[in-house]
């Protein structure tokens, strides 16, 4: 069985299989397209407790959408908000309102805390109980008694005569600026009045279908709100909005890169071969490459990330290389050589170019970023499928006389004859010297840029809205918090209390505006007992403030006894479990991770009003307390990006060595001529980034890996053709390079910063390689 008979049919079978699988995925809608921006970030977290803590923080925020509807006066805001809420209420399958039941809120509160009110007090009152005189407490109670407008009370005066529980309640309420007003949640920035509408999504946030449905409802709700009150200001925040913006943009970019590249390649192919058939063949190659990548990646990953598809669109510019190379060789070989013989002749070079490209993409696999793994696998599979299509089908499909037009070839030959070749002459030295100065200058300006926040790519208006809402509602920072662990719930709470004392100092210094902690609600049993004793001594005791106060009110000894008994009844120890079972704990439950391992309990202390400047002080505050760990997610990811930027730079250097080794095996002392253009292009690109003021980041380095893989191909094209066939080499290198520059250049316009960095680096680098490759020819 000769390969000429067997291979085309074998490949046709494989293609039919992936086509079938692709159709099944596409039309059956069985492939989930993931739009989670965070998927690009490292998934690995060596510390299990930390991983769970972070997952909990994400969980608490990810499914939520907060809508603020504001107006200059409250009734207008209410009208608009009610209209908005009514529209959303009609879609209970998509999302539900998370507004608490305002009528039940007060009674829930009493039910949960009333029995424990004697042990619930603020730290300030606790200090006062230790240090203030009996007279202080008597005066305080009397002032409160005679005060004209105390506001509505749900408890009797005798239940809290010194206002300790009321102060604690006030302090808890102050953890958020949101209040209940006319059965709605209310917030204000001093000028405008806002109704706060929290919603919880019932569909996955990062699915394209879910996003579209949810966003459509919000759109209608906005219209309804504006109809109800024309001046209503509507501010929305939620992960789903960012996810939707990202996937919309990704879809647009996929189309632009895909269509732009395909048109470019068609035009280039036409210009080179003046025939429709090559265009069809190249298109088929690219299409099968994609089909294979799509189908196999889906099998491997179960779901594809939308960023993979954007990046994958740039694959068009690489996948056509093999077909172009074959066709160019076909033109150069004349029509006496059969296509199968031609293939045997160029197979080593073809294999080598595939190998080096795969090495280029493999760089992405050595990072801990799941998103990058997927991009790499997708691209590598795409290349293999495109390559196999060329090897299995082209010899049978391309007859020797199919592409006979040699205009482009002759044109290339003419150009090449005038193109300079580096040697020991004045011109070369001058060129090298100026390149050296350029490179040096560029490297002097070069600075690293690893801050993960710069990878933020959401539209400005969404970021603005998010900032407004965070500021108005004083929301805790999602990326920075403390993880507090202990071998029992009690130990964890006690450690939180130690930490909080240090944080209180930072609040006094105005480096922090507040914190959310479960121990704000449930003090450790140790603290509850200590407080109870304190109250006994300072207030309830025979010499305490209570007997004096009661005498002033003209009541007798029996009355004192009754009141003391009444208060002591309410000193039951409040436990975390009690609190978590109650409705009022709903917004705070995410703070308690509970039992995370045998003998290990964990909780989160979340922070409000964190600024960049206060991060070092916050880190120091957590240091030295057993079981307390400061977590700066943003800082950590930035550190990972920095570490991998350095690591990948070394991998890049080693890859040069490795590829030189592979080349040496075939080209011996000419190997440097193949590698040098790519190396120079790399230096030129880096220098350009420096001069242009782009901070160098991991994604630039990753692109340089790919530049190595693809740039070397062009060197190989040149080496593999005899010197009189240089035109063929340049034609194929030029066509490949132009289409690659086009694809990655379009990727460079992506609004997703990592992709933009990647595209820009590749476009500049490949452009430079193409111009440099002919300079390193051997003079005929």
């Amino acid at each position: 069985l000769s390969p000429a008979k067997f291979l085309p049919w074998f490949w046709a079978f494989v293609v039919a299989c992936v086509a079938g699988h692709g159709a099944y995925l596409w039309w059956g809608q069985r492939l989930a397209i993931d739009t989670d921006i965070l998927a690009l970030l490292p998934a690995e977290q060596r510390d299990d407790g930390l991983r769970r803590a972070f997952a909990r923080m994400v969980e608490a925020t990810q499914q939520r959408v907060i809508v603020l509807i504001g107006a200059d006066d409250w009734p207008a805001a209410v009208r608009a908000a009610d209209a908005y809420r009514d529209v959303v209420a009609g879609h209970a399958d998509l999302m539900r309102s998370a507004s608490p039941d305002a009528e039940k809120a007060a009674s829930d509160w009493i039910d949960t805390f009333f029995r424990h009110r004697l042990v619930l007090m603020t730290a300030e009152d606790e200090t006062n109980l230790r240090h203030q005189s009996r007279q202080f407490w008597v005066d305080l109670a009397l002032t409160q008694l005679y005060a004209p407008f105390t506001g509505p009370k749900w408890t009797a005066w005798q239940d809290d005569p010194f206002g300790l529980f009321a102060n604690w309640t006030q302090a808890r309420a102050r953890e958020t600026p949101v209040r209940v007003r006319q059965g709605r949640l209310f917030a204000s920035d001093g000028g405008r009045e806002y109704v706060v509408l929290p919603f919880v999504l019932q569909v996955p946030v990062f699915s394209v279908a879910g996003e579209q449905a949810v966003l459509a409802v919000f759109e209608r709700a906005r219209e309804a709100a504006r109809d109800a009150s024309s001046q209503a200001q509507i501010i929305e925040a939620g992960v789903v909005l960012h996810a939707d913006a990202a996937s919309r943009r990704a879809k647009l970019e996929i189309s632009i890169i895909g269509i732009g590249s395909m048109i470019g390649i068609a035009v280039l192919t036409w210009a080179a071969f003046r025939s429709v058939k090559p265009i069809v063949l190249i298109t088929v190659t690219i299409f099968i490459g994609f089909l294979g990548a799509f189908s196999v990646s889906a099998l491997l990953f179960n779901e594809l990330h939308i960023i993979t598809l954007v990046f994958g669109a740039s694959l068009i510019g690489v996948a056509e290389d093999y077909g172009i190379y074959f066709l160019c060789q076909r033109v150069g070989a004349g029509d006496r050589l059969s296509s199968w013989r031609l293939l045997y002749g160029i197979l080593p070079a073809l294999a080598l170019t595939l190998g080096t490209s795969i090495i280029g993409y493999l760089g992405l696999v050595f990072t801990p970023f799941p998103g990058l793994h997927q991009m790499a696998v997708f691209s590598i599979i795409g290349l293999i499928f495109a390559w196999l299509t060329v090897v299995c089908w082209f010899p049978s499909m391309v007859r020797p006389d199919m592409v006979a037009n040699q205009d482009a070839l002759r044109c290339c030959d003419r150009w090449l004859r005038r193109w300079p070749i580096l040697s020991h002459d004045r011109w070369s030295y001058l060129l090298m010297a100026s390149f050296g100065i350029f490179a040096l200058a560029g490297c002097l300006f070069l600075k690293p840029e690893d801050d993960v926040r710069n990878l933020q790519n959401s539209p400005q208006h969404l970021l603005d809205d998010q900032r407004t809402i965070s500021a108005l509602l004083d929301l805790p920072a999602p990326g920075q918090f403390y993880l507090v662990r202990g071998d029992s719930a009690e130990t964890a709470l006690q450690r939180e209390e130690t930490l909080k004392q240090r944080l209180d100092r930072l609040i006094d210094e105005r480096r922090l505006s507040g914190y959310h902690a479960i121990s704000n609600w449930v003090p450790s049993a140790r603290l509850q007992t200590a407080r109870r004793q304190l109250i006994d001594q300072a207030l309830l005791h025979e010499d305490g403030a209570l007997p004096t106060l009661v005498q002033r009110l003209g009541e007798d000894q029996g009355w004192i006894g009754a009141m003391r008994a009444r208060l002591r009844e309410s000193s039951a120890v409040l436990t975390v479990d009690d609190f978590l079972k109650a409705n009022v704990s709903e917004p705070w439950r995410y703070l308690w991770l509970g039992r995370v391992a045998d003998n290990q309990y964990a909780a989160i202390v979340a922070l409000r009003g964190v600024s960049r400047d206060s991060l070092p002080a916050l880190e120091r505050a957590g240091a030295g307390i057993p079981g307390v760990r400061w977590v700066d997610r943003v800082g950590e990811i930035s550190a990972v990006l920095a570490a991998y930027r350095r690591y990948m730079t070394w991998v890049l250097v080693l890859s040069y060595v490795a590829i030189f080794g592979i080349l040496y095996w075939r080209y011996r002392q000419n190997s440097w001529r193949i590698l040098a253009p790519t190396a120079m292009a790399t230096i030129a690109t880096v220098a350009f980034l420096g001069i242009a003021g782009h901070g160098i980041q991991l994604f630039h380095v990753l692109a340089l890996m790919l530049l190595l893989g693809i740039g070397v191909d062009y060197g190989i094209f040149f080496r593999e053709t005899s010197s009189e066939g240089d035109g063929v080499a340049w034609l194929s290198a030029g066509l490949s390079a132009l289409s690659t520059v086009l694809s990655f250049g379009l990727l460079g316009f992506s609004r997703t910063p990592p992709l933009q960095a990647f595209g820009l680096t590749m476009a500049i680098g490949i452009g430079a390689v193409t111009l440099l490759v002919p300079c390193f020819r051997k003079r005929a």
Binding site: E103, Y146, W154, R181, S188, L553
Partner: protein, 203 residues
Amino acid sequence: MRLCGPGVSLLLLLNLMAPVAAGAQTEKIHALLAKPKILCGRFDQTKQLAGLKKPLLSSGRFCVVADKGILWRNLRPFASTVRLTRDEIVQMQGDRVTSRLSAKEEPTVRLMNSVLFSMLAGDFSQLEKLFTVDSSVYNDHWRATLKAREPALAKALDTIAMDGGVFVSSIAIHELNGDQTRIVFSEIQTGDRAMNDDEAALF
């Protein structure tokens, strides 16, 4: 002239609707009240707390200044002062501040202060936003009973009864836990001379 036709009829319609929304009775009260810029006077407060045999009696002076706020000076049985302005509630012993609550910390401060101000000034157009008002007017005297619209508030507050003529003369607050507070106002002065020097200094 034909161009402005529809516009005029729409304006008329709005004008017709406005008094209905405000409530016919409270309009009459509004007409009776003097609405001075500065109003000061004496108050006598009787507070009866559930479970306590004796009522708590206190008295002092108060001032209500439009666009500024309220000064409430308790003089007997002991001296203490509360000052409510748009953005804060300040409690003082003599001129020493013992506590301060700002609208920044507690967003409902502004709302509470505006309700109290409306109550002392008898501004029913504001009160009707939060309470249902049942009122009656006899000659130059009026009475009104307020019930909270807000369900959460209605669970604690039973009624507020007010009466008066040119000024508000008494306020009685009945809470659902049995507590009752009655404040009677007298010796009312208005105009720039109403506020004495101490009071002006405290504001």
